[in-house]
Amino acid sequence: MTFWDTLLYDLFPLIWSGMITGCLYALGALGLVMIFKCSKVVNFSHGNVAGLTAFLVYGLSSGVLLSLSWGAAVIVALLCAVAIAFLIYAIISPLVFESDLTSTIATLGFGLIAQGVTLLLFGADIVALDLPIPRFAFSVFGLLVTGYDLTVLAVAVVTIGALFIVIDYTKLGIAFRAISENPFAAEVCGLNLRSVHLFAWVTAAILGVIGALLIVPTTFLSVTTVATFMLQAFAAAVIGGFASLPGSLVGGILIGVLMNLFTFYVSPEFSSTFLLGIILLALNIFPNGVLQRVGGSRV
């Protein structure tokens, strides 16, 4: 096999599929970063809550809980995710203004509860959750592109695009950026910090549900699936600097591609160790993320 064949048959497809999953990591990472940026809390419950809602979609559409249509199930699950985000933030909001570390530990508690509730409702078994995704495939320059790939890409582009428009061009977006950089200035201007935090939590929950639902077709759904997926999102957020929205997009795609290459060329068994290595390296070489701004802000 020649060098070009290797590229064509292994490397390009690996990079392509890595980029597709990377988009989903980015969705997860964006949620983590939104919350961290404005309230300095790392939301460790992100994966478990998203997992719970993915299970809700399954439960509501498969007859385990109800037999709704797929679309209705997703809407109900999204509403649940928003309600859970409200609830979590309502409980920890007094802590947020006191210690970011304490509130971060508190989110671990919510993660544990979400996991337990998932177990209680749905058990520890693996279930299959089918999404109504167009099933077709075609080949471009030898690269196999599926309906799933295009769906993920389209959803990711639309969601992330919408999010960036809100943050860049709306009044709410200005408030979000102001609170992220200088909460004192925002308070002096008469902003309600809590309602902006809540906006971030709710947006993150919705992004989490979308990411979780879209990752499921590549695997089965179990208690740990989504939490594991969110760990990659975590790494993506870290690589992006944990405080940069475009950074987490780049980080997500980078993680998707690197993990794909690593499992194929090196070893699938050491993927978590590889993640550890990436996180350590990223934090130490680019403590502010790969998209570190040159020049920096004032002072």
Binding site: K171, I174, N182, F184, A185, A186, C189, L191, S297
Partner: protein, 243 residues
């Protein structure tokens, strides 16, 4: 004429030590400029922050005839008390225009636009750079932006904390000239914390001297024209011990 702001026994404590502000009482008439003078740690900034509601305090604060004690900062901003903090505290990553939007966050879109146009007219220096990130402005421009951001909220009372800090004399004069214009046009009341006594005296009607969290002296504007009062002010800064 009734008082716009009435502060009674305002006390601010951080931790267990002596209070930073120790039951201060004073009032500000409508359209008046009241200055607070004192060394670092005398409690000036804490007084300002307590009045605008960003730090907890005990005592009573009345504004426009009704009590606002216990109101959060955002409600006080809505009522017309706006704080322009020390060190400018603009949001560097936002553009100049976006910072102004932040200042008028609680206003309707139309009213905000009108106030913003007014502010940009008043400060042509920053109007030129309206779409630039705020951190790229010079110190003086940042101070103008901070004051402008406060003005977008259409305040009745502006709390100005050390607007001359770190500015060259020429810029200080320019900033204070603008303040004088605003004051004349809009009957805006101002509480001013300053180190630059000369410019302060050009603007203010009343002066309170603070030391150790208490008001230790008070002078009206007429009294300040007097030479001995000026010497008192000088002593307050450079110390009387060596005299």
């Amino acid at each position: 004429m009734s008082n716009l702001l009435e502060v009674r026994n305002l006390t601010v404590s951080y931790g267990t030590g002596a209070p930073a502000v120790d039951s201060i009482s004073f009032s500000v008439a409508e359209g008046a400029v009241v200055a607070l003078l004192g060394a670092n740690g005398a409690g000036k900034s804490s007084t300002m922050k307590a009045i605008c509601g960003v730090i907890p305090a005990s005592g009573e604060v009345d504004f426009a005839g009704s009590p606002i004690t216990g109101d959060p900062a955002r409600r006080r901003v809505a009522k017309g008390i706006v704080y322009v903090p020390e060190g400018r505290e603009i949001v560097g990553d936002l553009t100049v225009r976006e910072n102004l939007v932040l200042g008028g966050y609680q206003k309707s879109a139309a009213e905000r636009r009108q106030r913003m146009d007014m502010v940009l007219d008043l400060f042509p220096e920053i109007a030129e750079k309206a779409n630039r990130s705020a951190w790229r402005l010079s110190g003086g421009e940042q101070q103008m932006l901070a004051i402008g951001r406060g003005l977008v909220a259409d305040p009745k009372l502006l709390l100005l904390d050390e607007p001359s800090l770190g500015l060259a004399p020429l810029l200080v004069r320019r900033v204070f000239d603008r303040l004088a214009v605003i004051r004349k046009e809009s009957n805006l009341a101002i509480v001013l914390v300053e180190q630059n006594l000369a410019v302060t005296m050009r603007l203010c009607d009343e002066l309170h001297f603070l030391r150790g969290g208490r008001i230790v002296g008070h002078r009206s504007a007429e009294a300040l024209r007097d030479k001995t009062a000026r010497q008192e002010a000088i002593d307050a800064f450079l110390g009387a011990a060596a005299a």
